[in-house]
């Protein structure tokens, strides 16, 4: 195993790329993909620390994160489909029904 810093830097890079995607993109589907990137970065951290301390609990938590990601993708994509059916758009800044 390389030093833990390598993994932390990699995970921080993926996390910030994901955050930039969430903040700057207009397409909701790509925003959801960026959220998947963020969750992946968290998983890398968990597994790296699990390896560092020789404790399987970190990997067990990574499985919980993957479960969360699956649930979030299912519900989020369901919302996108139903919204697209009503408003014919996937752009985040046109989803302003609450702003009236």
């Amino acid at each position: 195993m390389l030093s833990i810093t390598h993994y932390l830097v990699l995970s921080l890079a993926l996390f910030t790329i994901g955050v930039i995607g969430v903040v700057t993109r207009r397409n909701v589907i790509i925003i959801l993909m960026s959220i998947e990137l963020i969750l992946n970065a968290v998983n890398i951290n968990l597994v790296a620390f699990s390896r560092l301390f020789g404790d399987a609990a970190g990997q067990a938590f990574a499985i919980f994160i993957i479960t969360d990601a699956a649930a979030e993708a299912a519900v989020g994509l369901g919302i996108i489909i139903s919204f697209f059916r009503n408003r014919e758009t996937v752009l985040a800044d046109e989803m302003d029904l609450l702003k009236w």
């Binding site: 932390l8 700057t24 990137l37 890398i44 067990a60």
Partner: protein, 172 residues
């Protein structure tokens, strides 16, 4: 040696494809690069001797979630959206957020050695054999120490399934 090469290969692949996910105009291209990024992450898991998570990542993420994404991209008509502006004017916010996040993470790990005898970055990793047999250890952890969170996760999946069906149904 192989360890180092593997890490840099998979890390570079992951970062490059993550950048491409965020910058591509076409959502289908983004989805393809997201698959590459997820596979590269799976490679990192393999390099960290987390074999079970490697296979879970490949089957569940690449095989399950990404298929869902591609399906929705195909269902949603993107021909219009592709010719519209892809980015909103939030670059400054994104930059500030990135700097703040980086500083925050650095501070956390800088001060993280409070209860330890030596700084976090100088800790020697445990032996790789501590995590073997990998699947058996994860299973034992999940079904003894984290039994309640495991059951809650299964209820979460049920709720998500019902929620997705209700959301995507034609008439509520």
């Amino acid at each position: 040696m192989f360890d180092t090469i593997g890490f840099y290969f998979f890390a570079g692949l992951a970062v490059i494809s993550a950048v491409l996910v965020v910058t591509r105009r076409n959502a289908v291209h983004s989805a393809i690069f997201l698959i590459t990024a997820l596979l590269a992450t799976a490679g990192i898991f393999l390099q960290l001797h987390a074999e079970f998570l490697f296979i879970v990542q490949v089957i569940l993420y690449v095989g399950g979630i990404m298929v869902l994404f591609v399906f929705v991209i195909m269902l949603v008509n993107l021909d219009v959206a592709i010719h519209q502006m892809q980015f909103n004017r939030m670059w400054l916010v994104a930059l500030l957020l990135t700097i703040a996040l980086g500083a925050q993470v650095y501070m956390v790990f800088h001060y993280a050695h409070a209860g330890m005898t030596e700084p976090l970055f100088h800790l020697q990793p445990a032996r790789a054999s501590d995590l073997e047999p990998n699947t058996e250890l994860i299973g034992a952890t999940l079904f003894s120490q984290y039994m309640l969170p495991f059951e809650i996760a299964s209820i979460l999946l049920l709720v998500a399934m019902i929620g997705a069906v209700v959301m995507a149904k034609r008439k509520v």
